[in-house]
């Protein structure tokens, strides 16, 4: 329909892809983008179109690119249940509280679920440790780094 050879179309698509992914990856500003494509010698109208294409799609392209980075299984959700063990084969008349947890993780589009258990004192310890972790982002040290790295 375009009346051009297959090779030309392929090169065109590849070139466009490369232009958009590299620009999105580096998150270059409008001005830098314009300067870069001006060297190619296209018409003003085409340059404007390319810039628009870049700005409209870069967020989505970046989302797709972020999936390619090396990753560990990531947290999806957590379910919990309180149990009290009353007896076992080796000991009767017990009162042993436990918290049973089902941890849902995502790894490369697969969802895994693991069943884990912990006792009340460990649970409180976990909460304390993780709250400390959350608090770290608010410390001066972290705030300074975040500010200086933009």
């Amino acid at each position: 329909k375009l009346n051009i050879g297959v090779d030309t179309v392929q090169h065109g698509v590849e070139g466009l892809t490369y232009l958009l992914t590299e620009s999105s990856k580096l998150m270059i500003s409008e001005i830098d983008f314009q300067d870069s494509i001006n060297v190619l010698g296209f018409s003003d109208e085409l340059n404007k179109l390319l810039l628009q294409l870049y700005l409209e799609n870069r967020k989505e392209i970046r989302t797709v690119l972020s999936e390619l980075a090396p990753k560990l299984p990531s947290y999806h959700s957590l379910e919990w249940r309180l149990d009290v063990q009353l007896a076992s084969r080796s000991l009767r008349q017990q009162i042993k509280p436990a918290v049973t947890i089902k941890l849902h993780l995502n790894q490369n589009e697969d969802q895994t679920a693991q069943v884990l258990q912990t006792d009340p004192s460990t649970l409180l310890h976990l909460i304390q440790q993780l709250e400390q972790a959350l608090g770290e982002m608010k410390t001066n040290h972290c705030r300074r780094i975040v500010r200086n790295m933009k």
Partner: protein
């Protein structure tokens, strides 16, 4: 027991039987959480004299708590969380994507399995919001625990 010099005059088979009998008796008593009266009655039925019964019961009483703890720890359960480690990092770039600027947490749950001794730890990454969700749910569980223990 077979190497004990005080017992070397006794036939080893008899010794083994005695040991097995004593062990069975102690474990059954521990399992059923029997009190001293029940044990005494049981031993009386076995025609042991009063002095021996008293000695046995005193020794049993001394070790009762340790025995219960040991018996309670036998058995299967899901993998047990013993501790947690975390790492906070600030992502700047990857080879696929530059200027990411996002904080990210890496959480490791240390796991112990009573059957096999140890088990690989469970590690996962999460964002700040996800960690807040996780901690929120754990706090719900803890609150439930507190309410249940007051009933």
């Amino acid at each position: 027991i077979l190497d004990d010099p005080d017992l070397k005059d006794i036939d080893p088979t008899v010794l083994k039987h005695c040991h097995a009998a004593a062990a069975t008796c102690i474990l059954e008593a521990g399992k059923q959480k029997a009190d001293i009266a029940a044990i005494s009655t049981c031993l009386e039925d076995c025609k042991l004299d009063k002095e021996r019964i008293e000695q046995f019961c005193t020794e049993y009483q001394k070790n009762k708590d340790a025995l219960e703890i040991l018996l309670g720890s036998i058995g299967r359960s899901p993998l047990h969380i013993t501790d947690v480690s975390w790492r906070l990092e600030y992502q700047i770039k990857s080879n696929q994507l530059h200027k990411t600027y996002q904080p990210s947490y890496l959480v490791t749950l240390n796991i112990e399995n009573s059957d096999l001794g140890s088990h690989p730890d469970v590690s996962f990454s999460c964002t700040m919001e996800q960690l807040q969700d996780l901690v929120g749910k754990l706090k719900d569980a803890a609150k439930s625990l507190e309410r249940a223990s007051q009933m």
